[in-house]
C-alpha cells in the first residue's frame, strides 16, 4: 500500500466528519478572525480602533463581562451545594434530578425568555399574584440587567450542576470517615480537605458559566433586543443587531465584535484547562489526564454512576436542609412552567391573580395556525435530521480514533473545543461570511443551516459516544470480534453499536434538544427558515398584529413536554444512569 493509501485508510472513518468540521467550523472561524484585520487598504487595526473608540461598544463589553461574572457567581454559589447533594442521592432520585436538570439546561432561548415575561414580567403570574395579596411587587423590567441575569440562571445553574457533578465523586466518603476518626468537625473537613480538592473544579465550572453567559443571544434578544434604550447593552446583542440592521458595514463590524467575544471565551477556557489540570495533580500516579479525568468524563456508562452509587447511603447534610433546598429548587423551576400552563388555557389574563377564564381552545387551535404548525414541523425535521446525521458521522470517527489511529482523536478534541467555547452567534456569523465567499447560493438555505447544526452539535455527541466506547472497551471488543473473523462492518454494527447504546441515546438527546431550542445560529444564518424559536421570537416581539401569547405558551409547553419525554426514553435506555455527558474535566484537560 502506498503512503497515501495508508494515510487515507488511517483517517477514512473520520474523514466525513473532519471534512464537515473543517468546512463549517474551522475555516469560517479562521476567516472571521482574519477579516477583522483586513480593510480595503490592506492589513490594518482600523476596525479595532473604531470599535474600541465607541463608548457604546466599550459599555457593551463591560456589561457583557459583568453579566457573565454575575451569572458565574450565582451559578457557583447555588450550583455547588446542589451538585454535592445530588451526587449523594440514591440512584433513583438522582436520576430524576439529573433528568430535570438536563431538560432545564436545554430549555433556554426564546421559550425561557417568554417564561420570564409571563412569570416575572410587569404583568406576569408571580407579579399579579403578589399584588393580589397586597404586595406591590415591582420585578426588574424585562430588558434590565437583573431580568437577564435571572433568566440566564435558569439554564446556567442546571448546566453548572451537570458539569460539577462528576467532580463531586472525587471526594471519597472514606476520607470524611478518616477525618472524623481524627476528630475533625464537618466544617474542618470541608475547609481543609473537601473544598481545597474541589476548588479547581468549582472555579473551572464558574469560568465555563461565565463563558456561556457572555455568549447567550436568544434570551437577550427576546428580552432586550427591541429596546430603544438597550439598558443592558451586550456584545451578543450588538453583534446580532449590527448584522440585522446594517447592510452597509454591518458584517465587518459584527465580525470585529465577535472577535472580542472569541478572545474572552478563549481566555476563560484556557483558565478552565489550567484549573482542571491543577485539580487533577492530586490524582497523578497514573497519567494525569487519564485516571480521574476519564473517571470524571465517562459519565453515562461509568464514572459518575460508580462514583456516586458508592456514596449513597449516608446523607451527609441535615435531612431538612437538603429537603428544603430541593423544595426551593423545584419551586423555582416549576413556577415558569405553571405560568406557561395557565397562559395556555387562559381565555384572557388582565390584571388579576389568575386568568379571567379558562378554555382549551388554544390547545385545539394552536396547530391549526399555519405558521405555528409550519414552525413545529420545520424544527422537528431539522432536529431529527441533525441528530441522525451527527450520529452517523461521529460514530465511525470515534471508532477510528479508538481502534485505528489515535491522531484522529487529537484532531477531534481540538475541533470540539470550538462550539464548546464559542457562542453559536459567532459561529453563525462566521458561517454567514464564509458561505458568502465560497458558496453564495447556499446562503439562507435549509441545507446550510443543517450543516451548521451538525458542526455545532458534534462535540456533544462526540463526548457521549466517546465516553460510552471507553466504558464498553471497544478496543478489546473489536480485537475479539476480528479474532473471530468478523469484518469491520460486522464489528461496528453487531458488536460496537449495541454496546454503546447509552452513549448513542444521550448523544442523540443532546443534539436534538440543542437544535430544537436554538435561536442564534438560525437567526443569523437563515432567518427565513421558520423554526420554533424563530416563530416564537416573532410572536413575542411583534408590535402590531399580535396573535396573543396563548399559542406561544402551547408550543413552548409542547416542546418542553417533548424534551421530558425524550429524557425519560433516554433514561430508560441508559437504565437510570447519568444522562448527560457533560463536556467536563477530561475533555478540557485532554
Amino acid at each position: 500500500m502506498s503512503v497515501l493509501g495508508r494515510t487515507l485508510s488511517g483517517w477514512l472513518g473520520a474523514l466525513p466528519l473532519l471534512v464537515i468540521v473543517a468546512l463549517f467550523l474551522v475555516a469560517p472561524i479562521g476567516v472571521l478572525l482574519a477579516r477583522s484585520f483586513i480593510t480595503a487598504e490592506g492589513l490594518s487595526l482600523d476596525i479595532w480602533a473604531g470599535l474600541l473608540d465607541s463608548p457604546h461598544t466599550r459599555k457593551a463589553l463591560l456589561t457583557s463581562v459583568a453579566l457573565g461574572a454575575t451569572c458565574a457567581f450565582f451559578s457557583t454559589l447555588i450550583g455547588t451545594p446542589l451538585a454535592w447533594l445530588v451526587s449523594r442521592l440514591t440512584a433513583g432520585p438522582r436520576a430524576a434530578w439529573l433528568g430535570i436538570f438536563n431538560v432545564a439546561a436545554h430549555f433556554g432561548g426564546i421559550g425561557l425568555a417568554f417564561a420570564y415575561v409571563i412569570s416575572l414580567g410587569g404583568y406576569g403570574m408571580v407579579t399579579l399574584f403578589a399584588r393580589s395579596l397586597g404586595f406591590d411587587l415591582h420585578p426588574p423590567a424585562r430588558d434590565s440587567f437583573a431580568a437577564l441575569a435571572i433568566t440566564y440562571e435558569y439554564a446556567n445553574i442546571p448546566l453548572f450542576v451537570l458539569l460539577a457533578l462528576p467532580a463531586m465523586g472525587i471526594v471519597r466518603d472514606e476520607w470524611y470517615e478518616a477525618a472524623q476518626t481524627a476528630s475533625a468537625t464537618r466544617w474542618q473537613f470541608w475547609r481543609r480537605i473537601g473544598l481545597p480538592l474541589l476548588a479547581p473544579f468549582i472555579l473551572g465550572g464558574a469560568l465555563l458559566s461565565f463563558t456561556w453567559a457572555i455568549g447567550i443571544y436568544g434570551i437577550a434578544y427576546a428580552l432586550a433586543g427591541s429596546s430603544p434604550t438597550v439598558p443592558t447593552r451586550l456584545l451578543t446583542l450588538q453583534i446580532g443587531q449590527t448584522i440585522a440592521d446594517d447592510a452597509v458595514t454591518g458584517s465587518a463590524r459584527a465580525g470585529a465584535l465577535s472577535v472580542l467575544l472569541i478572545v474572552l471565551a478563549v481566555v476563560a477556557l484556557a483558565g478552565y484547562r489550567l484549573l482542571v489540570r491543577r485539580g487533577l495533580r492530586w490524582f497523578g500516579g497514573h497519567t494525569p489526564a487519564d485516571a480521574p479525568t476519564r473517571y470524571a468524563a465517562a459519565g453515562p456508562a461509568g464514572g459518575t454512576a460508580a462514583a456516586t452509587s458508592r456514596a449513597t447511603a449516608q446523607p451527609r447534610t441535615g435531612n431538612w436542609l437538603r429537603r428544603g433546598l430541593f423544595a426551593i429548587v423545584a419551586t423555582l423551576l416549576g413556577l415558569p412552567l405553571l405560568a406557561l400552563a395557565l397562559y395556555s388555557v387562559a381565555t384572557r389574563w388582565t390584571d388579576r391573580a389568575l386568568p379571567d377564564g379558562y378554555t382549551l381552545a388554544h390547545w385545539l387551535g394552536a396547530f391549526a395556525d399555519d405558521r405555528a404548525l409550519n414552525a413545529v414541523l420545520t424544527s422537528l425535521s431539522l432536529s431529527t435530521l441533525t441528530t441522525f446525521l451527527t450520529l452517523a458521522l461521529v460514530v465511525p470517527a470515534v471508532y477510528w480514533a479508538r481502534t485505528v489511529n489515535p491522531r484522529v482523536r487529537a484532531a477531534l478534541e481540538t475541533a470540539a473545543a470550538i462550539p464548546f467555547a464559542l457562542p453559536f452567534l459567532v459561529i453563525g456569523l462566521a458561517l454567514l461570511q464564509f458561505s458568502g465567499m465560497v458558496a453564495p447560493s447556499l446562503q439562507g438555505t435549509y441545507p446550510l443551516l443543517l450543516a451548521g447544526y451538525v458542526a455545532v452539535t458534534f462535540p456533544f455527541v462526540y463526548w457521549a459516544v466517546d465516553g460510552a466506547m471507553a466504558a464498553a472497551g471497544v478496543e478489546r471488543l473489536s480485537q475479539a470480534a476480528e479474532a473471530c473473523g468478523a469484518s469491520r462492518r460486522q464489528t461496528i454494527l453487531r458488536v460496537v453499536l449495541p454496546n454503546i447504546r447509552t452513549g448513542l441515546a444521550s448523544g442523540a438527546m443532546l443534539a436534538f434538544a440543542t437544535v430544537i431550542g436554538e435561536y442564534a445560529l438560525v437567526s443569523v444564518l437563515a432567518s427565513s427558515v421558520n423554526t420554533i424559536p424563530v416563530w416564537s421570537a416573532h410572536v413575542l416581539l411583534d408590535r402590531n398584529n399580535n396573535p396573543g401569547f396563548a399559542p406561544l405558551a402551547v408550543v413552548t409547553l409542547s416542546v418542553f413536554g417533548l424534551l421530558i419525554a425524550l429524557a425519560l426514553v433516554v433514561s430508560r435506555v441508559t437504565r437510570g444512569q447519568v444522562l448527560r455527558e457533560a463536556p467536563s474535566a477530561g475533555e478540557a484537560a485532554g
Binding site: A40, Y123, P228
Partner: protein, 370 residues
C-alpha cells in the same frame, strides 16, 4: 467629525460594491422593461413580500383588490406576507443578504433607508410610468413613496387616569418622571418610526437637521421613561400605556381596542411632529416575480390604491404632495384625525438624514452619555 468620515466611508463602499459587482458579474437582475401581464398572473400565485402584513398600510386589501382587478383571483395568500415585523434597516440587509436566494419581491420601507438600499444596490432598475405623479425625490428606480406617517402618541387614557396620571399632549409632556418605563418607542436609526420620532423630538426641542444637540439633551432626559415597543396586549393592560408610533400605525389595532372597550386616544404632539414617507421598494434580485412586482409598483400610485391606504388611517402620498393633489373620498377618511391636529407637522428633507449617523448620535451621545 462624522462629516469627515462619511465621504471616506462612501468611497470605500463604492469600491466594495464595485468589487462585488465585478465578482458576481453575470447575476441577472430586474431591468426597466414593461411587465408582461400574463406572466404576472402566474407570479401572483407564488410571490412573497416583506414588512407588509394585512394590518399594515392595508396591504392585505391592497393585494386582494389589485389581483381581483387584474387577474380575477385573490392573491393574498397567508404565506404572501413574510418577515412581518422587521425594521426598515433590517429589510435592506435582508434583500442584500438573500441576493442569491431572493425571498421577496417588494417590501414596505421608510424613505430614510432608501439611500442605504441604493448604496448596497438592492433596488430594481424599474420605475413605474405613473411615478411622475410624485415630485422628484419621492420616487426613483426600484422605489416609490406610498403614504406618509406622523410620529404620534397612542395613549391608554383609561389606565393613566386610573393611576392619577395626566395624558401627554406634547413631546415636553413625555419628560414627566411619573412615566418611568411607560413609553414604548422603536429602535432609533433602525426603524422608520423610531428614527422620525427622534427627528421630531429634536425639532420640537429647538434643533435642526444640522444641530442635534437640543434633541440629544431632550432624549437623555427621556431615556428613563422609555421601554420596548410591545404588542397591543401590553398597551391594553397598561404595561406600556404610551406608545410613540406613526399615526397610521394603529389603524387595524384601533378597531380591536374599541371593540374591547379600551379608552384610548391618538395624539399628534402639539409642539410639532414631522411627515415620514413610507415607500414600497422592489427587490432587484427576485427575477422570478418581476412582472408581478412591476405591475404592483404601478398599482400603489393609482387613485384606488391611494384610497385603500387612506382607509387604513394613513395619508396617501398623492394627497399631501404634488401640484395636482388627490382628493381622498370622505368614507376613506373615517380613520383620520382632524386636519387641525396636523397644524404643527412639517416635512423634512430625507436626503439630509442618514440613519447611520442617527444611530451613532443615539447610541453614543444619547445612550453612551448616560
Amino acid at each position: 467629525m462624522m462629516s469627515v468620515r462619511r465621504p471616506m466611508r462612501r468611497a470605500l463602499l463604492v469600491m466594495l460594491v464595485g468589487l462585488a459587482g465585478a465578482a458576481c458579474g453575470g447575476a441577472a437582475t430586474i431591468g426597466p422593461g414593461a411587465p408582461d401581464p400574463s406572466a404576472a398572473a402566474e407570479q401572483a400565485r407564488t410571490f412573497v413580500t416583506y414588512a407588509t402584513p394585512n394590518g399594515w398600510g392595508n396591504y392585505g386589501e391592497q393585494f386582494t383588490t389589485f389581483c381581483m382587478f387584474n387577474f380575477g383571483f385573490d392573491c393574498n395568500r397567508p404565506e404572501r406576507s413574510q418577515a412581518e415585523d422587521i425594521l426598515s434597516a433590517e429589510e435592506v440587509q435582508k434583500f442584500d443578504a438573500e441576493k442569491n436566494n431572493p425571498g421577496a419581491i417588494v417590501a414596505d420601507v421608510g424613505i430614510l433607508f432608501i439611500p442605504q438600499a441604493e448604496q448596497v444596490h438592492t433596488l430594481a432598475d424599474f420605475e413605474p410610468p405613473n411615478a411622475g405623479l410624485l415630485p422628484d425625490g419621492l420616487h426613483g428606480p426600484g422605489w416609490v413613496s406610498t403614504f406618509v406617517g406622523v410620529p404620534a402618541f397612542l395613549v391608554n387614557v383609561g389606565f393613566l387616569e386610573s393611576h392619577g396620571l395626566p395624558v401627554p399632549r406634547s413631546w415636553a409632556d413625555l419628560l414627566n418622571p411619573a412615566y418611568a418605563h411607560m413609553i414604548g418607542l422603536s429602535r432609533v436609526g433602525v426603524s422608520g418610526s423610531g428614527t422620525y420620532s427622534f427627528v421630531a423630538m429634536n425639532l420640537a426641542a429647538g434643533g435642526s437637521l444640522e444641530d442635534w444637540q437640543p434633541g440629544i439633551d431632550y432624549a437623555r432626559q427621556l431615556v428613563p421613561n422609555l421601554t420596548s415597543q410591545m404588542s397591543m396586549e401590553t398597551f391594553e393592560r397598561g404595561e406600556v400605556p404610551i406608545s410613540v408610533r406613526f399615526d397610521f400605525n394603529h389603524g387595524s389595532n384601533l378597531q380591536a381596542l374599541r371593540e374591547r372597550g379600551i379608552r384610548f386616544e391618538l395624539i399628534v404632539p402639539s409642539d410639532g411632529s414631522v411627515y415620514g414617507e413610507s415607500t414600497l421598494m422592489m427587490n432587484r434580485y427576485d427575477i422570478a416575480h418581476q412582472d408581478f412586482g412591476k405591475m404592483f409598483m404601478e398599482w400603489v400610485l393609482t387613485d384606488e390604491a391611494q384610497a385603500i391606504f387612506a382607509k387604513f388611517g394613513a395619508r396617501p402620498i398623492r394627497s399631501v404632495v404634488g401640484d395636482n393633489r388627490l382628493v381622498v373620498p370622505d368614507e376613506a377618511r373615517a380613520n383620520w384625525l382632524p386636519d387641525a391636529a396636523y397644524a404643527n407637522v412639517r416635512t423634512v428633507d430625507y436626503e439630509q438624514l442618514d440613519p447611520g449617523d442617527i444611530v451613532d448620535i443615539w447610541e453614543n451621545q444619547v445612550l453612551g452619555g448616560s
